[in-house]
């Protein structure tokens, strides 16, 4: 999971969230409400990955808690396969996070539109573009949301959205816990002070 602060990411595509709502969205789902992705890694071949939570999905999308596929200096690379539209439906219907589902849809569409615009510019300027992928590559992983970007870029966009949302939700929960800890520490201090006062009084 990402560990850097949300402050590095500018304006979030999500509205503020309460700790209670964040806790709900971060919950672990029951059997039957899980999402199955496919991990593709030369070291172990392909395997089904069962995601029971947003955190689980994020781990999967970034190649494990481990992120071993992205580990600097590692030779272990791997890919996470999800069918983007099915994944978005899972986020919306099972996790219950319509805002994240909408954000992924928007981000995919924007990335795709940007890619199309770049290609159009290149054509206008007679720039020699890379050869077109061969069939069935041309249609692989393409969906109505992102017709102009390859699959790995789609996964990258999805991962970033999920990662940002996860950090936002986690921070909301942490802030609540921190506030609660401060409050109880404050109360405890106050109680101790009262006890001291009582004790002092008794001493008198």
């Amino acid at each position: 999971m990402p560990s850097s602060s949300l402050e590095n990411y500018g304006e979030l595509p999500f509205s503020p969230v309460t700790a209670e709502r964040a806790t709900f969205l971060l919950r672990e789902l029951d059997w039957g409400n899980h999402f199955i992705g496919s991990s593709m890694n030369p070291a172990m071949g392909n395997s089904d990955v069962y995601c029971y939570s947003l955190n689980g999905a994020l781990k999967f999308l970034t190649q494990g808690s481990s992120r071993l596929g992205n580990l600097k200096g590692s030779t272990r690379t791997g890919m996470s396969w999800v069918e983007p539209l099915t994944f978005i439906s899972w986020i919306r219907d099972k996790v219950g996070d319509a805002e994240l589902a909408d954000a992924i849809e928007t981000a995919l569409k924007e990335a795709s539109d940007k890619a199309a615009a770049s290609e159009a510019t290149a054509k206008d300027e007679n720039v020699d573009t890379a050869p077109k992928p061969l069939d069935p590559f041309a249609s692989f992983g393409i969906n109505e949301l992102a017709p102009n970007i390859p699959f790995l870029q789609q996964i990258s966009v999805i991962s970033q959205c999920v990662g940002l949302r996860f950090m936002q939700l986690q921070e909301a929960v942490n802030a609540e816990e921190s506030e609660s800890t401060d409050k109880s520490a404050g109360e405890s201090e106050s109680e101790d002070q009262n006890k001291d006062e009582i004790s002092t009084d008794d001493g008198k």
Binding site: S38, P133, P136, P150
Partner: protein
């Protein structure tokens, strides 16, 4: 945690890894991903270190997700059908995995069953039939977890089921599966077209027939495919398993970055030169394949003496009944054209596979009905004494 790859001198693969802390050093391949569900990278690599120290098999990377699914289903856990007092609610943590691995080492809790192997444990728990039929437990052959898709990449699955364990030999896998998959995912054109690839492999394997590399719904049951499976068994039995040439590199069938435009790899010319350099003996590539055939047939005779029958050489049910659901690029020949296909929605046809089995036995010189190596085959390999043993065991009756 910083890791750097390391490997044999001059190797481009560098399959090992060293970390700045030393934890997880030398952890490699499937074992390095065995506890990918860990809460952190540190926990993951510590788990691998402990697993290695305890001598626990790290190949079964599907084991932990499978067990957690049973826990989520309410089948496994405290007081459940599969009773386990391990801290499943802390799955992913160090204390969970430490207690899990120690339970296997000490044969306590569910570790008492798992220490005998996952298949034995699943059978003891009454889960084997149901879960291998649904694919929840994707263990296709000989009690080994799925490595590459047994419904599609059949050199791997046929090779395993007619051989032993999981072949774990990547000779063709890099070219037929990974090259097009990676290119497709990145939106790039494949480094070679499907036709160029099939033609190149036909030449560098010495098989001479591009149809050996057709993974279409017809192609995986063809005579050409059976020849490719046989070639793969013979090549790897000699050059990889006996001469110990690295599986990640050999056979070197395709060169993707040639300086002279020639994409043919170093095989089949390099291997005999290496053999000569090491032993001083002359050996042709064809003679090496014959030696591989001899080794494989020797193995086969032993398996038959141990009681193996054709009916043992079947896959678990999901291979025949559960369609593939993730894109799995392979070259196919369809309607007179070569192309790469995602191979979605495919299963292995049980009847066609049974027919492949008979034809594979035949091409190997084994009895097409029993799979027992024929006397004339063994004698032609100077293994007549094995035929005598098979005869004594009543296997020629």
């Amino acid at each position: 945690m910083i890791a750097r790859p390391s490997g044999c001198q001059g190797c481009v693969r560098n399959c090992r890894r060293n970390t700045d802390s030393g934890i997880g050093n030398e952890s490699m391949c499937a074992a390095s991903l065995w506890y990918s569900v860990a809460d952190s990278l540190e926990v993951q690599v510590r788990a691998h270190d402990l697993m290695n120290r305890l001598g626990i098999n790290g190949f079964e990377s599907g084991l932990m997700p499978y067990l957690y699914n049973l826990y989520k289903m309410g089948v496994l856990g405290p007081g459940k059908q599969i009773d386990s007092q391990l801290p499943w609610e802390r799955f992913g943590s160090w204390d969970f995995i430490e207690s899990f691995l120690m339970s296997m080492a000490d044969r306590t809790d569910i570790g008492a069953d798992l220490a005998d192997g996952s298949m034995a444990a699943f059978q003891r728990w009454g889960r084997w039939e149901e879960d291998t039929a649904s694919g929840l437990a994707a263990w296709p052959n000989w009690g080994f977890v799925e490595h590459y898709d047994p419904r599609l990449e059949v050199e791997w699955s046929y090779g395993s089921i007619f051989g032993d364990r999981d072949i774990n030999e990547h000779a063709l896998n890099w070219h037929v599966h990974w090259m097009p998959l990676i290119c497709a995912m990145a939106g790039e054109a494949p480094l070679l077209t499907a036709k160029e690839l099939a033609d190149t492999l036909a030449e560098t394997t010495t098989l001479g027939d591009p149809m050996c590399f057709d993974y279409s719904e017809e192609g995986i049951y063809s005579d050409a495919k059976i020849k490719a499976v046989s070639w793969h068994r013979h090549y790897s039995r000699f050059w990889v398993q006996s001469m110990l040439m690295c599986d990640w590199v050999w056979p070197h069938l395709v060169e993707y970055g040639p300086t002279n435009g020639d994409v043919r790899g170093a095989s089949p010319h390099y291997e005999p030169l290496a053999y000569k350099a090491a032993t001083g003996l002359d050996l042709t590539f064809e003679e090496a394949l014959e030696a591989g055939h001899k080794i494989f047939t020797f193995d086969r005779a032993i398996w038959c003496l141990q009681g193996r029958k054709p009916e043992d050489e079947v896959f678990t049910e999901y291979v025949y009944n559960v369609p593939t659901k993730a894109a799995y690029f392979l070259p196919i020949y369809k309607d007179g054209e070569w192309k790469y296909d995602t191979c979605l929605g495919r299963t292995l046809d049980r009847n066609k596979f049974e027919d492949v089995k008979k034809r594979f036995y035949e091409i190997e010189g084994w009895d097409p009905k029993t799979g027992v190596p024929l006397r004339e085959t063994l004698e032609s390999m100077d293994l007549g004494f094995l035929a005598d043993e098979l005869d004594k065991a009543g296997l020629y009756a």
